[in-house]
């Protein structure tokens, strides 16, 4: 099937992300990549749990002294909502509604950016209020590495969405770029799932001590 063929919402296939062989390969390859990413985050979580509250002396703040529920709750809501809006975007992608897809993607990006803003505020807060830095203790290194890796993933995901929207703004949807939108949204869901674990393991478990 020609990848550059023009479609209307009527001729548009049911699973545009898997219609071409390239799309099918990309779809499967990306799922496998996410499998590898899962192991990567699992290793980071294990490291964090091993080093949680491991500080050189009692003057350092521990997890239970620092973390506050309201802030991370807002961040969690932001990211969960952005996952939902990216689902809407994909719904419109499957219906070949380019305009609506872009709108929802824009909302997703906005929510993601707000999340990142909160995260930067949060890190800044820990550094200045508690002198909890990347180099201050093993706990600090592990915390910023785990949460920072997630933050970097969010940033990459945002860059990816923005690039896709700019690149395809004039050409619309076709079978060449449909799989791209689809795997980008897969990536976004993955980031969201990782955050749920961070919320539980780092913050909730951190606050109970």
């Amino acid at each position: 099937m020609d990848t550059q063929q023009k479609f209307t919402s009527r001729t548009w296939p049911e699973s545009p992300e898997k219609t071409t062989l390239e799309g099918k390969n990309k779809f499967l390859g990306f799922w496998l990549f996410l499998g590898g990413e899962t192991v990567l985050f699992a290793s980071l979580f294990a490291t964090y749990l091993a080093l949680k509250d491991q500080v050189p002396n009692s003057e350092h703040y521990l997890a239970k002294d620092m973390f506050e529920l309201p802030l991370v709750f807002i961040m969690t809501m932001l990211l969960l909502t952005s996952s939902l809006t990216s689902v809407y975007a994909m719904y419109h992608m499957k219906n070949h509604n380019f305009q609506k897809m872009n709108t929802w993607l824009l909302v997703t990006v906005g929510l993601g950016l707000t999340f990142l803003g909160f995260e930067i505020y949060e890190f800044n807060h820990y550094v200045h209020e508690f002198h909890h830095t990347f180099t201050s203790s093993a706990f600090g290194s592990a915390f910023y590495t785990l949460v920072g890796f997630h933050g970097a993933h969010v940033a990459v995901g945002l860059g990816w969405f923005i690039l896709l929207m700019i690149r395809n703004s004039k050409r619309g949807l076709n079978l060449y770029n449909a799989p791209k939108y689809f795997v980008a949204s897969l990536y976004w869901h993955f980031i969201d799932v990782v955050w749920v674990f961070i919320f539980t393991v780092v913050y909730l478990m951190g606050m109970v001590g």
Binding site: G29, G36, V39, S43, T135
Partner: protein
């Protein structure tokens, strides 16, 4: 290597290889660079054996010795064994499943160039202030203690080449799942394809822990983090876990493709289908699965406690069962067959007792309390060389002879091949068998020198003598390669005469689109089935039609080059910060420029649509008249 290529100028050929996305050419790139690193690692091995030939020797200094032993291990595992196996996977697997290319030709090239630049980066350490010196395992307390940039080269080099391996793993998984020819069901795939499949899955799940471990060490050494600094609350055992969660599956990443190559060789040169095919497949999958459950057997003496040691001891022993199943199935494949002792078959036959010896010492090592004695002695050195050389290197040498005609279109000289085999086999056993006893007699591994009067002199001398035989065998192989390429006698589709799988139904080397028409696969060993029915060719599964092919691209090369450049910046910014911004002022700009090159080329790749091109039906028909060659 084809006739067309020979007429091209050197620069044109170079450009062709720099931009290629053809799996067959990428295979050659892997083979040549892997072969080069194999020779480098071999020279390092010889220095080690010369230093240990006599007691209290001073052939190399203590510091240099540690650098050599580290680089020998790192080079052989990451830069020689894995890439050469990738070479065979690239060259053969798409042909075996009846595909025109891999799933991601662009990523395939990217994977190669990442490995290549990672390897070059790592080896440049020799010229830039000293190589890493904390062993290939690079245990955290020692590697943080190590001065200079050696460990930084290790961390950054492996990070780059590791990314390449991960990409290669995903690529092969998707290729095998999505790209099989009509009729090529999972249970009709040749064993080499199956083992590539399982090994790729292992790569996918085993490499990330290494990536994380390397990141932690990178942060500790270059950005002041404290993961492994005990005084700051860190813990070095984390590194041991992360490294071995990767490190043990890594062994199976190497040995499973070796099993696959041997399985194909056994059935080919016994003229018999593989005995117990389905249990062979099951055993391969099971070994891959169990490979993730046993990492702590490398840490029996770390002090994890009796329960952990007992569990991991029993789990490790369990791996012997599927491995034993494989050994017996290979034997039974030959049983009742018609065995032809070609060079590849000689390696395959010698592999059984050699690998068996490595396997049984593996079970002995699994017995935790006995391992308290074996651990970190020459007994372990003997064990893993029996597995890695007796298994993986034998497979690499066998595969080199076996697949050479399919890759290059000409046969390696059989007589020279057999000379290599015998020199290597005898040298190998002379070098390593005796090391079991050295270990039991109390010789720790990784020692720069041993003092006289400990009863270790004679066996060490014998071991060194054996190493020289192996070196001689390797030289004969090199000579063989040169002579063969000079003569360049072209061969047909099935030069061994007993080919059973799809790759032998194509010309040697195959046209760049592999299959003019995708073949119809009617069972295990599809070519053999056609042969038995008197056909000379595969039955096509489709009419001749236009073929869609990917465009070549220089972007993978540039993208990897960017990371290579950035790595220097990342490394020397430490000195820049340490000097208070006085020296190494260039480091930060270099880091940024390198990253910009990489990100820029990624952006170019995403922004510029690449739809590939079509080979038209008429051209294919013309090609056929010329004999299917390019």
């Amino acid at each position: 290597m084809s006739t067309v290529a020979q007429k091209k100028g050197f620069l044109a050929i170079l450009w062709d290889y720099l931009t290629t996305v053809d799996h067959k050419k990428i295979a050659i790139l892997y083979l040549v660079s892997g072969g080069f690193f194999f020779l480098v690692g071999g020279i390092e091995a010889m220095v080690i054996r010369i230093q240990l030939a006599v007691p209290d020797n001073s052939f190399v200094s203590a510091g240099l010795y540690n650098e050599i032993l580290t680089m020998h291990g790192t080079t052989m595992i990451f830069l020689a064994a894995m890439p050469i196996l990738f070479a065979f996977m690239n060259a053969i697997v798409p042909l075996q499943i009846g595909a025109r290319d891999v799933a991601f030709p662009f990523l395939n090239a990217l994977g190669f160039w990442l490995f290549f630049f990672g390897g070059i980066f790592l080896n440049l350490s020799w010229f830039l202030g000293g190589a890493p010196d904390a062993g290939w395992t690079s245990y955290a307390s020692l590697s943080l203690f190590s001065e200079g940039h050696g460990i930084d080269f290790y961390v950054l080099g492996l990070q780059i080449s590791g990314a390449g391996s991960l990409i290669a793993g995903i690529n092969f998984l998707v290729t095998i799942i999505n790209m099989r020819a009509p009729g090529m069901t999972y249970m009709r795939m040749p064993l080499f394809t199956w083992s590539t499949f399982v090994a790729s899955a292992l790569i996918l799940f085993a490499l990330p822990p290494l990536t994380v471990g390397l990141f932690l060490m990178l942060f500790d050494r270059m950005f002041g983090a404290n993961f492994f600094d005990v005084t700051m609350g860190g813990n070095t055992v984390i590194w041991e876990h992360l490294f071995w969660i990767f490190g043990h599956p890594e062994v199976y990443i190497l040995i499973l493709p070796a099993f696959g190559i041997f399985s194909d060789i056994f059935s080919t040169f016994s003229r018999k289908r593989l005995f117990g095919y389905s249990s062979m497949v099951f055993a391969t999958v099971l070994i891959g699965f169990l490979g993730f459950m046993v990492w702590a057997h490398h840490m029996f003496t770390t002090g994890l406690g009796a329960t952990a040691n007992a569990i991991f001891a029993v789990a490790t022993m369990a791996i012997a069962v599927p491995t034993g199943v494989k050994i017996f199935n290979w034997l039974l494949t030959m049983w009742g067959g018609s065995i032809k002792f070609t060079t590849p078959m000689l390696y395959a036959v010698a592999f059984i007792p050699s690998f068996l010896a490595g396997g049984v010492t593996g079970v002995m090592l699994a017995a935790a309390p006995a391992d308290y004695q074996y651990h970190d002695t020459y007994f372990v050195v003997a064990h893993f060389h029996y597995v890695i050389i007796g298994g993986v290197v034998f497979a690499i040498l066998a595969g080199t002879h076996f697949y050479w005609p399919k890759i290059f279109g000409t046969m390696l000289n059989e007589t020279l091949g057999k000379i290599t085999f015998w020199l290597f086999l005898i040298g190998f056993h002379a070098t390593f068998f005796i090391q079991h006893f050295l270990g039991l007699m109390g010789m720790p591994r990784r020692i720069w020198k041993f003092l006289p009067g400990q009863g270790l002199d004679l066996f060490n001398a014998i071991s060194t003598a054996g190493a020289f035989l192996m070196a001689a065998g390797t030289l004969v192989l090199l000579y063989n390669v040169i002579v063969t390429s000079r003569k360049n006698v072209r061969v047909g589709n099935d030069p061994w005469g007993d080919g059973r799988t799809l790759e032998w139904s194509l010309s040697s080397p195959p046209p760049f689109y592999n299959f003019k028409q995708l073949p119809l696969v009617r069972g295990l060993d599809p070519l053999w089935i056609e042969k038995m029915e008197g056909n000379t060719k595969m039955t096509p599964a489709e009419p001749i039609d236009d073929i869609h092919m990917p465009n070549g691209s220089i972007i993978p090369f540039v993208m990897s080059l960017g990371l290579f450049i950035a790595a220097f910046g990342a490394m020397y910014q430490v000195d820049w910060r340490a000097s208070g911004g006085e020296e190494f002022v260039w480091s930060l700009p270099v880091l940024i420029i390198g990253m910009l090159i990489t990100i820029g080329s990624m952006a170019t790749r995403s922004l510029k649509d690449d739809h590939g091109f079509h080979i038209h039906k008429e051209d294919l028909l013309k090609d056929e008249e010329k004999g299917g060659k390019e």
